[in-house]
Symmetry: C2
Subunit: 747 residues, 2 copies
């Protein structure tokens, strides 16, 4: 998992009283299924559940995480071949599909403080006797950030909090210069790649990213090996490629990184960082941070180290950072296993999880991968017993996810034309743990997800995972989530930003996608560390593989229903409802920015802002910002009204029986509806991203931006662009509604 589970966001299942209520889908209706086929499907799922074996998960997880298996490693290739053999043994048409990608590994890593005292950072995670695989130093990738620039820099050190744009505004107000300095940012608040990108934009010459114990260490819980959390030497490897511009091999944007693909020269690759970047542990960060002088940072910037946090940036603290990498092209191995559909073989249900890790990766990604394998095995058992899916099922084990979704992106780019024709839905999983179901994805599948969540039992509480999800929203949700959980029939699924392999499917090609996993009760700080090991996972992850089985049941049900339904189970009223919320959000965003700008400009002009500052501290009054005009949101409202109407008409019509002969014809339209949400020109300044509803944020990384071209234009205060994008997005939504109408006409 490219993305940290630390901020595992749970969003939203079914109505009312938990104990009083029976499982909601016990036989009445099932989205996409004719009444006469429901019982057979339910029986099939029961059989499927019964054949799932937790011992397989344990055995495979131990085997696959037994050695480091990053891109280019012997054990990585071995794992791919192991899975290939399994798929073949289960009767899948399976193969390994290789790509050749740029994957830098460290040659030189030096971090030392030259002043006010000498200190050399350890940048290593030591062996622990409680962790059997932590001693495999010769095979481990050291602590580093992939796609960092080479560099040899010596400069004063500045603390920049999370290193997001707002933090640099604060530094400017406090008169702290970043240009020519090395910044130290803490993990959290954004995806790591944003930190180095924004640091470079502000003229920093180097970037350190450390795990503060406030976010990822003893503040959260007991540290490893006593507890699950990151210990003082734990560090978080990870990619800093500019994924929000495009993921995949930096040298082959838009095309597959096949052997003979045309490659960019490395100097022309736009997604590589401009400055050297390295992650460090809090044991390595503490000696540096405690020497910083200057003003004390704002309260929200302070971590849990036993020091007073200062901005630094003065000549007192001098740091030397030297990084050199082997810029090699390495092979990656995707495992692709097909089970051809009987009735509609050219409609594909794709189910994927990555298999590469930063080190041993027991949780990330093997915990998800082994659930996928067991799901695939149980599906093959059904086939052996005589059942055959209507549609084709394709299981994928991606390589190279960690450096930047390499395996999935290159595969999607290579097969783009065929996928656009045949892919109905992509279902992704990644790390998995104990706790609550979390689902993100296309809101055309929200109702479908709710049905599935109502039919899987939570292993710990025996209520459905949907009911437990709802309970969590009711108690721990935001005020809006609480209200929805109380009043709305369906729980809301998250919108997808990025951070795992759904991105090329959803955001590049417009294939309806879901990302599924459990978590929230298997906290800890092993993410991207040598301590993400079998030993850690069976103590703190999912000791009995209960949630591995739950994931196989959940994603397996999704796969089986999607593969078997009479008509693809898309539904559009929930999508329309969601779009309505996004439109409200961006209007509120503009209104709030308008009021805040006015208020701040007034306080700058009349001296209020200056008047409250402590005159003994530096404070540079910011320049007033341009006023926020009123934007014409009417095109979006008109498009939304059309969409609502179309969605309702389809819902009403779908209640009538569709003639069996028309189902295939209907599928052909439905499977491509999500494509209508893309635009060939893509997003402004990053045209690889085609989806007009969901994208990772340009300045948040994983964090999703919905209606991204409008929202980001507003956030960047480009009013002209915002107005243009409103028109484009409105047209996209109207086109989408027209596709729904086409489907309705077939009913």
């Amino acid at each position: 998992m490219f993305r940290s589970l630390l901020n595992f966001s749970l969003s939203l299942l079914l109505t009312g009283s938990i104990s009083a209520q029976s499982m909601p889908n016990a036989g009445q209706t099932l989205l996409g299924f004719s009444a006469e086929n429901i019982a057979a499907q339910k029986a099939l799922e029961k059989k499927f559940d019964a054949s799932l074996k937790r011992e397989n998960l344990r055995e495979w997880l131990k085997r696959m995480s037994a050695r480091p298996h990053h891109v280019g490693s012997p054990h990585g290739k071995d794992n791919a071949e192991f899975m290939l053999a399994l798929f073949k043994s289960w009767g899948y048409d399976a193969q390994i599909e290789q790509f050749d990608v740029l994957f830098p590994t460290p040659k030189t890593r030096v971090l030392e403080m030259l002043a006010p005292e000498k200190f050399t950072a350890r940048i290593a995670e030591p062996e622990l006797k409680e962790d059997a695989t932590s001693n495999q130093q010769s095979e481990q990738l050291p602590v580093y950030n992939a796609y960092s620039a080479d560099g040899d820099v010596t400069a004063p050190l500045v603390y920049v909090n999370y290193g997001v744009p707002a933090d640099y505004e604060e530094l400017e107000k406090r008169g702290v210069e970043v240009k020519g300095k090395i910044v130290i940012a803490r993990y959290g608040g954004s995806w790591r790649g944003i930190k180095s990108k924004v640091a470079a934009e502000h003229g920093a010459v180097g970037c350190l990213i450390y795990s503060d114990p406030r976010n990822d260490g003893y503040f959260q819980g007991d540290v490893y090996p006593k507890g699950a959390y990151r210990n003082e030497n734990g560090a978080q490897r990870g990619s800093v490629v500019d994924m929000p511009t495009f993921p995949g091999d930096p040298l082959t944007p838009n095309v597959g990184a096949t052997k003979n693909a045309k490659r960019l020269d490395r100097k022309d690759a736009t997604t590589l960082t401009k400055i050297p970047v390295m992650p460090i542990s809090y044991a390595d960060a503490l000696p540096l941070l405690r020497t910083l002088e200057g003003a004390v940072v704002p309260e929200s910037w302070r971590g849990a180290l036993p020091i007073t946090y200062h901005f630094g940036g003065t000549e007192r603290t001098k740091v030397h950072l030297k990084l050199e990498f082997n810029w090699d092209i390495k092979p990656i191995y995707n495992v692709i296993a097909k089970m051809k559909g009987g009735e509609r073989p050219d409609e594909w249900i794709i189910r994927g999880n990555h298999h590469d890790a930063w080190v041993n990766g027991a949780s990330d990604p093997v915990s998800g991968q082994v659930a996928l394998l067991e799901e695939a095995r149980a599906v093959s058992e059904l086939v052996k017993s005589g059942w055959k899916p209507k549609r084709t099922i394709i299981y994928c084990a991606w390589d190279g996810e960690e450096p930047g979704l390499l395996g999935s992106t290159e595969w999607v780019e290579t097969h783009a034309a065929e996928l656009k024709e045949k892919a109905a839905v992509y279902i992704n999983s990644d790390s998995n743990g104990r706790g609550f179901l979390g689902v993100g994805g296309s809101h055309t599948l929200e109702k479908f997800v709710n049905e599935v969540a109502g039919d899987v039992a939570d292993p710990q509480t025996k209520i459905s995972v949907g009911q437990r999800w709802r309970a969590n929203e009711l108690i721990n949700g935001s005020p809006n989530a609480k209200r929805d959980a109380k009043e709305r029939g369906d729980l809301r699924i998250d919108a997808l930003g990025s951070g795992s392999d759904y991105t090329p499917f959803l955001q590049h090609l417009g294939i309806a996608s879901l990302n599924v996993g459990y978590g929230g009760e298997s906290g800890g700080g092993s993410y991207h560390s040598v301590y993400d090991s079998y030993d850690h996972y069976i103590r703190f992850g999912d000791p009995n593989f209960d949630y591995g089985i739950a994931l196989a049941q959940t994603a397996g049900r999704m796969t089986l229903r999607l593969a078997n339904a009479d008509v693809l189970p898309f539904e559009f009223t929930n999508f329309a409802d969601t779009i309505g919320i996004y439109i409200k959000e961006i209007m509120t965003l503009a209104d709030t920015m308008r009021e805040d700008t006015k208020a701040m400009n007034r306080m700058i002009a009349d001296g209020t802002l200056k008047a409250v500052q402590d005159p003994t501290q530096i404070f540079i009054v910011p320049k007033p910002k341009s006023e926020v005009p009123f934007l014409n949101f009417a095109p979006l409202h008109n498009a939304l009204a059309t969409l609502q109407e179309s969605a309702k008409n389809y819902q009403t019509a779908a209640k009538d029986k569709s003639s069996p002969s028309a189902q295939k014809q209907l599928d052909a339209i439905l499977m491509k509806t999500e494509r209508a949400l893309t635009s060939q020109n893509g997003l402004t300044r990053r045209d690889w991203f085609k989806h007009q509803i969901y994208a990772p944020g340009f300045y948040t990384g994983y964090g999703v931006k919905t209606l991204p071209s409008v929202r980001e234009a507003i956030e960047q205060r480009d009013w002209k662009e915002a107005g243009e994008q409103i028109e484009i997005v409105a047209k996209t939504i109207a086109n989408f509604a027209a596709e729904i109408d086409k489907a309705t006409r077939l009913l």
Copy 2:
């Protein structure tokens, strides 16, 4: 100061643009003054300002904080005599008024950990070479909590966060037993005396209170002597007497502790703690806290020590606490200095600050005391130049504030009858520092305070202190405070809870009171420590005594205007507005409790609450609470309507010229209006507190509870009592309105 400035709450001055606006009271109107007398008053104030000398403040502060001057100390008596001499030299009719009070000092203090390892707490603040008075160990009161019980207990240790009732609810849910244990609470979240009271209520046998660096230490800023904040050995002395029941000498409730007063037997004294209590530093707390086992505490409970915080309470950590005290009766010395009024000598304007400290007390209380002295000196200069106040001015320097407002309370109780007749207004100050004006008090004086704040220039920014106060509200205030600062002509003053010497005046006798001071930019952690020294104060407090002069100008203006006005400058529309807010608050409180109770009871009944818990952790589902009935708030609304009408009528009438002959008669009514806000029966279960609008919270300590008898009945879920108290408070408000009407009839 009995109360910590750490949570210095600034609440609210005048309209619009700071730079564009001139000082608002430049000559137009002045509350209480006829138009023809305004210019003379302004000229007088100018003369007053001109005679203030910062060198006096520096010299006196250095002199008074040169040695420890707690109750019973030689230097405390010496300071009283020094001030007496000063007042006399300035022409005041001054005397020392002695009381004899119970004041325990430590004989034995032992805190040791017996298991899992041996550790003996230092409980001492070491000498620092940067702090000249920190070496006066032989005269210093050691680190202790006054009025702790004697005790010798050995028990497991439990961490209870702030030790307020809600924390014990959490402990109960987590299955952590407190009975028979020693609790360790961190400072903050409530007044310290609440921590030991609530601990004892839950069966704890001992209580430690430590300064967590999150609230009071390196998390906040650099520690002493590098910076102003509490270092690892700094500890906070302080009283744990049950002040919300009654302040003053525990042996003489309601009567003055004169030589021959009838005293309670110590065993019958209800305000003494039931268990031994001691404050400790974070260096002493860390070894204890890091041994605690059990579950990890909720995030909001975690401090800034470099450990994972656990509940503890198991047999693993055993602590031995032994405390013995000398339970002596000690003399205290109030200095009372009168300047008799010319025209209305039986109307008293009383101005006080305490002079006793826990150790050297440069900030607390000497910084406020020296501003009062300089104010008194400047007033005497005016008198020497031929001016005479209309009303009598009484300057008071209280002793024994720190242990429990002893000096002021005993004086007020002794002179209660005369004070009820003659006291018009009491103005209090205490610690003072650099920053923003903060004022709390009777809202009948809110308009008056706003006028004064508009006429004092902020020494750092040159705008008025009112304008700076408003700027601070606009930028740092709560959403309501921001809106008020933008839209309301007058800034809101705080309601007074307790924590300094206004309490007996305001809450026992119903004398309109104000508490005035500057702060917010002189942060630090010297409160109740040996490091509250001259050296600390001139580096981090108010190095140039700018804000000492500003306090003298502010409180001096208040005193001079109150003493000199044609009619006492009370105003009632702001008071009515405030009461309206309080009524809304308690209605919202009941509504919120009703909804929360319903929602929680439902989640308990239907299993939602249990469903979201991690089954590997202990969680005891709480019992459902009784439903919250709808209360009849109509009596309060009716009383409010009457009050609004009366306030408006007085405001309209007051604009007409009052005949000079009627002014004295009018004063006689006005000065007693606040008395009408008291009830002779006092508050339920604590009848010393007579005021029906303002009281310290029974379970918050200093934190104010407005409309306390109603609010606390609701909080304690006593619906019958809430209904009864609504009637009583409504009558009180109606009686108050009737007093205003009497005044109006004289106009």
